[in-house]
């Protein structure tokens, strides 16, 4: 447990405390007592020659403060473990001396302590703690790791809602300070909740797909050629030559489909050397990628992906309410809404809705970010959902490997998916015919020599297939109604940030 402040442990701890209390802790207590005794002895002797341990001054409990300074008869501490905290009381009595109270009061914030205590119900709710109905009456307390007295940021500032900080003139912590001191910022209840939920998204994604018969694959990140002509790609020195970092696992997913894996997914980093300094761009993020063969229509792919997303949303709603509410305390947002089955709109319908709202745009123009957001609001008003699919994008705005729409050559069998008006997935039916792929590449003026291996993958039997890639950090950000993707990346990378 981490000492949070001087003035009051989790459900788990409480259970652990009461269950183990008699057996294990007596043993521990004896051990600890012996250790403390030894430590005190060593401190007084300066050097214990009989103990050949060069590291003895660097671990174990701190020696107790022995001075006789007068102090109060009790002190309160707040002990924190992950998302939870609890008030603890050290009071002079049978089990604690004045010196012990003083020692406890002097433990630096964020130090890690082992505590043995009795859990007692309290009369009045402790509003400042997550465990409001109990407090710990401390009988033993040992410092396991002492924090330096001066912290780069205060945790209570780091969890304060922005509005509250401004109104009451209290400090909040800006994003760069947070990210520069991420080890401490990640200790906030908000960060703990965000990244536990993120772990849940990955698990729900994989479990859903595994149940659907998908196979997990591992694709290489160092690649020999940039498949789409080399823009926005990081270069790596590779022995005597150079290579690139994969912008997506797409080629490899497709090769797996051509290799008869039928349905595959992968979870891994993707790299974009794009000099975009926005709230939603990272140079390295985690891709949740899907690719599958289908029988008759690429809508089979859309249905698989949307159902996977719906399973994720349901799993989060049903199993991560603690985390969602913890985040909402600092960053309030509306609960995330979704429909079953998922709403699917065609691009032409979206353009019509936008025009009706006063936007001027051509049939084959791509959606700008503000227009995507506006469309999200219009869709929410009309259909009451925060999640939908936009299908049949204009062929001109999609990559060369996108299958054209057989009934209208201006459009394509491609789609984006949106959460709260922001894109989280881009996908399509891929061209699985080498000849058509060659023609499409020529049309896009792509050097055929550079994509020969890609095209050749489709020469030895390739089933019709499609897929898409989901940005993990965006899904978490938008599900939680946060406003910056750096909040949902543990150690974000952008054009200006490479550390920690």
């Amino acid at each position: 447990m981490t000492k949070e402040e001087v003035q009051g442990a989790t459900e788990e701890e409480q259970q652990a405390q009461s269950k183990k209390a008699l057996k294990k802790q007596q043993k521990e207590a004896e051990k600890a007592a012996k250790k403390a005794e030894k430590q005190a002895k060593m401190a007084s002797e300066q050097q214990s020659a009989e103990e050949d341990d060069f590291a003895k001054d660097r671990y174990g409990v701190s020696a107790m403060v022995q001075s006789q300074q007068k102090l109060g008869k009790q002190c309160f501490l707040v002990l924190r473990q992950q998302q939870f905290n609890v008030q603890a009381l050290v009071a002079v009595g049978d089990r604690a001396s004045k010196q012990m109270v003083k020692f406890a009061a002097n433990i630096t914030k964020e130090s890690i302590v082992d505590v043995e205590a009795i859990v007692r119900k309290v009369e009045q709710k402790i509003e400042s703690c997550s465990q409001q109905d109990v407090e710990l009456h401390v009988e033993r307390i040992f410092v396991i790791s002492q924090a330096e007295p001066r912290l780069p940021l205060q945790l209570e500032d780091a969890v304060r809602p922005d509005g509250e900080g401004e109104e009451e003139g209290r400090a909040t912590v800006n994003q760069d300070t947070r990210l520069d001191n991420r080890v401490i910022d990640l200790r906030t209840t908000t960060s703990q909740a965000v990244f536990r939920l993120q772990s849940g998204v990955c698990q729900l994604f994989r479990d859903t797909l595994t149940k659907k018969g998908f196979v997990e694959i591992q694709t290489p990140k160092i690649i020999s050629a940039a498949s789409e002509g080399g823009a926005n790609v990081f270069t790596v020195s590779y022995f005597k030559t150079s290579a690139f970092l994969a912008q997506s696992p797409q080629l490899y997913k497709q090769m797996c489909i051509c290799a008869d894996f039928d349905k595959v997914f992968c979870v891994g980093p993707v790299f974009r050397a794009e000099d975009s300094n926005t709230h939603r761009h990272l140079t390295e993020f985690v891709g949740l990628d899907i690719e599958m063969a289908f029988n008759y229509h690429y809508h089979e792919v859309i249905d698989s992906i949307t159902d996977t997303m719906v399973q994720i949303f349901k799993g989060l709603r049903d199993n991560f309410q603690t985390e969602i509410q913890t985040v909402n305390k600092q960053f309030p947002s509306e609960p995330f809404k979704f429909l079953e089955p998922t709403l699917r709109l065609e691009y032409t319908e979206a353009v019509a809705m936008l025009r009706e709202a006063g936007v001027e745009m051509g049939d084959e123009d791509d959606l700008s970010t503000p227009n995507e957001k506006l469309l999200g609001r219009l869709v929410k008003e009309k259909y009451d959902t925060d999640f939908y699919v936009l299908d049949k994008y204009p062929l001109a705005v999609r990559p060369f490997y996108t299958m054209p729409d057989p009934s209208n050559p201006k459009y394509s069998n491609s789609y984006d998916m949106f959460m709260r008006g922001e894109e989280i997935l881009s996908g399509a039916q891929r061209v699985h015919d080498a000849q058509l792929l060659t023609e499409r590449a020529i049309h896009h003026q792509i050097d055929l020599e550079k994509i020969k291996a890609y095209i050749d993958s489709f020469r030895y039997g390739a089933p019709p297939h499609g897929g898409g890639g989901i940005g993990l950090e965006r899904v978490c950000m938008l599900y939680l109604g946060l406003h910056n993707v750096r909040q949902t990346s543990m150690f974000p990378r952008d054009p200006k940030r490479l550390t920690p």
Copy 2:
């Protein structure tokens, strides 16, 4: 399904065939018949002006061969889907014409076909197929994707056991040919089994740890500084500066422990710019990484990791017998043996065993690869296990952040784990005290400026912790008794290979 050869579908297919036969397939059949009719019409008209589909010559079924050449009354095909294959018969009768038999016989190998057929029991087992008791009597057959007639390698050669090839003078396929044509090589029953089992290893790893309360984390792969001085690290151009590819997620795992995540794991690529051209080195591989805080002794960490490995071994044994036996057909090996609890030997015991076997080595010398293998054989003889832990490595052969053994400064709280005599994991208790860490870094002559951020992570409260990293490809290779890590990497990267 893929057509494998001319002369003879999976359990799933059979079930599907019989279940859907009446309803769905009638519909499909009608659809397909209409499609085929249309196609034939289009082929004769050359250009159907009323259909505005520029891609019409590139998808759909091939037009039937219409010539009247004489042919046999039946032909056998082998149809393959993933790990399974089945014999199919096209015979002249009510449902098939002579032309149709000829068409079927002329379908190029590895083409993808849709087949409608009756499943019939056969009198005599079909030894050459995985589905030995049935064959398919084909009523409709459509080519979905036609393979080029000349294949870069033959699948029957690619699954032939090495010995058999040599003895009978039949072709086998060498590794570079396989890897150069990986899309086809991955279609072999052996490859399908290997990578389905690999998917299982990842799933078992995560599920076991999730049950133990571990949180999955995502760590950055682009990093600003090479933590151990910059050897064997790939350099990346990063906008106007340069960066490195992470050799392991260790620093980030440790930061998460310091950030109070208690127990974390991650699965992701790790990069080693090591010019090692051996059977077990890759420049990019998948790390299964664990890090956890502990209470009293780093053996808590060892126990968590070994139990995770045991759960993986059990899961593979219980749920992946088909895959294991498929691989064994081509690459025979002894079943993998393990003990519960896992055998843990101390380094000094290992040195004693090796010396007894005639090896000359000093107490603090590291183990060479041949000595590791020899030790594996000695341990197998003595303890009958293919999996064990070697604990308490000499401090001198371990990285600077390794916690020294408190009772003997020549040794350390560190360990490796071995499968069939080869290392699959390296791990340790880490130094969690900034001062001791600084001293150890100075001892190793590491530039303190370069690791300042790392050391500072431990200044604000850091619990005792340890962990380790497992190489996914090695685990799969050694579990299956394979002899080259490239067999268990879908798209392997080594100093000489960057493609496909």
